[in-house]
């Protein structure tokens, strides 16, 4: 595995200050850690182990059990594509194929430019407007392969614009 550059551990200092001593807070700490880095860097987990006195094996065990936690960095846009029953019945597989076709990535992968990651999820609770995907907190409903591609293109364009002006 390639060596990742060390994480700025000061980012999680506040979380640890308020939670390190509270029993049962490991999931909350990991959630805040992921919010800070976009994923769970190994050195951050080691630091959490040290500060909370929890064995690192326990921490990694919890991190790998829950679908929400990621051990690798994700793209700027995280596409959560619903593969729940209602979405399946309404053609989510075609949407998945369209996304793969557009971006060249599959479930769990990130585009080489680091812009998009694709993750299949179970149900987003918008089943009556299926198929559905959620990208960085925004839900897109009643998708067709075409509509899904358009959403991705407009996000890519938006990002390119933002990049040029920055």
């Amino acid at each position: 595995m390639s060596k990742q550059k060390p994480s700025d551990l000061s980012l999680i200092e506040p979380v640890l200050d308020s939670y390190a001593e509270v029993p049962g807070s490991l999931i909350a700490i990991l959630q805040e850690t992921q919010a800070a880095y976009g994923y769970l860097p190994m050195d951050a987990m080691e630091y959490i182990a040290k500060r909370t006195g929890t064995p690192i094996a326990t921490i990694v065990g919890v991190a790998t059990f829950y679908a929400q936690f990621r051990l690798e960095p994700v793209g700027k846009y995280l596409i959560m594509l619903c593969q729940g029953t209602a979405c399946h019945v309404n053609g989510s597989e075609l949407i998945s194929a369209a996304i793969s076709d557009e971006l060249g990535i599959h479930d769990g992968e990130t585009t080489p430019d680091g812009l998009f990651s694709l993750e299949h999820v179970a149900c987003l609770g918008c089943c009556s407007l299926s198929p559905v995907m959620m990208i960085n907190g925004t839900t897109y409903s009643s998708l067709t392969p075409d509509k899904a591609k358009k959403v991705l293109r407009s996000l890519a364009a938006e990002s390119a614009e933002g990049g040029a002006s920055a």
């Binding site: 049962g24 619903c82 609770g125 009556s128 407007l129």
Partner: protein
């Protein structure tokens, strides 16, 4: 005049946010007649989102549907001038309005009516009357539990256990020297196709808080925890605000309403694991561990969160409680059947015409819910089956549509009441594919292997029997409820759709035309008008033909992506 925009997750996904923003801009520019702009949660008519409710000066409701941002100017004009004919084109049709008229709403009583971010609105609609009554009249724990018992309320999270029984067990359980007991709300809502709990929390969070307060009072808990799944960010935001507001007004905290009853409430966000909906796995997760189910007994009532006596109920269960205390258990029990009292909320989705939330008295038939309220199947297709109860449930075929909603009657079909997800399927849904889909969910590798070869047209004789045997073996050997029920979707699809399985194996044919390996796309030469829409959408140039004359698909090039079928407006692209 008041304009109320429906802003549940579903409304927002359909574009309600842009409508709201535009109305706000217009009203900020000029608002001579003092039009008010507000929000509400999901009223259940997801198929008509975004929805704007216009209340005129007499208080009469004019419901505007499928509103887009561009319609905002018209609505603004109508509201500020009083000329409502301007929005006639947006009004809900009489037929669609029946969707709500045929329901009986108790758990959803305020959803889509009140502003979920305003405690005053909840109070104005009779909120916190139940807890006020209990504390002011000094009702005993047993008196309150008795009312719930008379109501016949059973858990809405799936298993249907009598709520009063659980509350008595937790009340009678002896606490240790700390005296600590906990009341937990299961808002993990893991079944795909279910979104009742999300709608209640997003649309009426105080009704959950009030139900939990009453539960905490009955069992003697001073702390409540709501475990909300990670995929529901809006629910978490609204519930957090509701808890803050209720605390500020003295409905939560120390000495509630001047009594000696004290209780706090907090939220714990889940982290995405289906099994955490199971109550003991949920408790493990609350303790910050991997969500592995515990062996029962001991039950949570004896040794739950941190091994203290704990009671855990589903969101919808709690949402019924305040109503029962205010209206009396007998009023609730007057609805429904002998063994299943009151109402149940269902989430309708799939190939249904009117997808959304439906609350009906128990005893209503599946047909009434799906056809009379849900409007039947979209695009004039045939109903094939309805999936009830999520991955632990099963598929009910057309021949069983007159089954009534009742815990025992639904179990007799091989499905279960479950938490209330109803995913409707039509003739184009392949049942073998459905069975495989569900196992994917509960990950049973050997069964998957067999089903995958059937779906790919490589099934062997005896595969169906092998699957059935495996299902029973899993049921018998299972430790927790998940294992015991996980084979249900497979067993019911085999039971009711055996011919479809046989067609896949013996004839290498998918009757629904869905399994990619077994189908060919072709163009009906009589229906094709030569518009070229399909050819333009084909990513591999497998479609040829002159403009204005019928086209053809080259099966050796076709990758079966289905683009052509979606593109065709004449129904000429077909599969066999």
């Amino acid at each position: 005049m008041r304009l109320i925009v429906g802003e549940g997750s579903c409304g927002l996904a359909a574009g309600a946010g842009a409508v709201h923003t535009r109305l706000q801009e217009l009203l900020a520019e000029a608002n001579p007649t003092g039009v008010e702009l507000g929000i509400t949660g999901c009223n259940g008519m997801c198929f008509l989102e975004p929805i704007v409710d216009l209340y005129d000066d007499e208080g009469a409701l004019h419901r505007l549907v499928k509103v887009q941002a561009k319609d905002a100017d018209k609505i603004y004009q109508a509201a500020t001038t009083g000329d409502l004919s301007l929005v006639d084109g947006l009004r809900i049709s009489a037929e669609d309005a029946e969707f709500l008229d045929k329901q009986t709403r108790i758990a959803l009583r305020d959803c889509g009516i009140i502003d979920p971010e305003s405690i005053d609105d909840y109070l104005a609609h009779g909120g916190y009357q139940a807890i006020t009554k209990i504390l002011a009249e000094g009702m005993s724990q047993e008196n309150v539990i008795h009312e719930i018992d008379v109501a016949g309320l059973r858990g809405r999270g799936g298993a249907g256990f009598p709520t009063a029984f659980k509350w008595r067990a937790a009340r009678d359980a002896k606490a240790d020297e700390t005296g600590q007991k906990y009341l937990i709300c299961n808002a993990d809502e893991g079944d795909p196709g279910a979104f009742m709990d999300r709608a209640v929390i997003e649309g009426d969070p105080h009704s959950l808080i009030e139900g939990m307060l009453i539960g905490a009072y009955c069992i003697g808990a001073s702390e409540g925890i709501v475990y909300v799944r990670a995929e529901y960010p809006l629910a978490i935001i609204r519930l957090r605000k509701a808890i803050e507001d209720a605390t500020a007004r003295g409905y939560l905290g120390d000495n509630i309403l001047g009594s000696d009853f004290s209780c706090t409430l907090r939220i714990k966000a889940g982290a995405g694991a289906f099994v955490c909906g199971e109550e003991t796995a949920l408790i493990e997760s609350l303790e910050g561990k991997r969500g592995m189910p515990r062996l029962k007994p001991p039950f949570p009532a004896q040794a739950g969160y941190w091994l203290k006596p704990s009671n855990i109920n589903n969101v919808e269960t709690y949402a019924n409680v305040a109503w029962i205390i205010v209206n009396g258990g007998a009023a609730y029990a007057a609805m429904g059947t002998e063994n299943s009292r009151g109402t149940k909320v269902f989430a309708l989705s799939g190939k249904i015409r009117r997808g959304g939330l439906v609350e009906v008295p128990m005893g209503t038939t599946l047909r009434e819910v799906i056809f009379d309220i849900g409007g039947g199947i979209r695009n004039g297709k045939e109903f094939k089956a309805v999936q009830l109860g999520g991955p632990s449930g099963g598929c009910v075929p057309a021949s069983k549509l007159d089954t009534i909603i009742d815990y025992a009657e639904l179990s007799a079909t091989g499905a279960i009441m479950g938490s209330g997800g109803m995913v409707v399927m039509d003739e184009s849904t392949c049942m073998v594919g459905m069975a495989r889909f569900f196992l994917d969910f509960t990950a049973k590798e050997r069964m998957l292997e067999i089903l995958s070869r059937v779906v790919d047209g490589k099934g062997e004789e005896g595969d169906i029997e092998k699957l059935e045997e495996l299902c029973y073996a899993i049921k018998d050997g299972a430790l927790c409820g998940l294992g015991q029920t996980a084979p249900n979707p497979v067993l019911t699809t085999i039971r009711y759709f055996r011919d479809e399985f046989e067609a896949h194996i013996a004839e290498h044919r998918c009757p629904a035309g869905e399994c990619r390996e077994l189908i060919t796309y072709y163009i009906d030469q009589d229906k094709c008008v030569g518009c070229t829409a399909c050819a333009r959408q084909c990513p591999v140039q497998a479609i040829s033909g002159e403009r204005k004359s019928p086209h053809k698909i080259d099966p050796t090039l076709c990758i079966k992506c289905g683009n052509c079928k979606t593109a065709c407006r004449f129904g000429a692209v077909q599969v066999r």
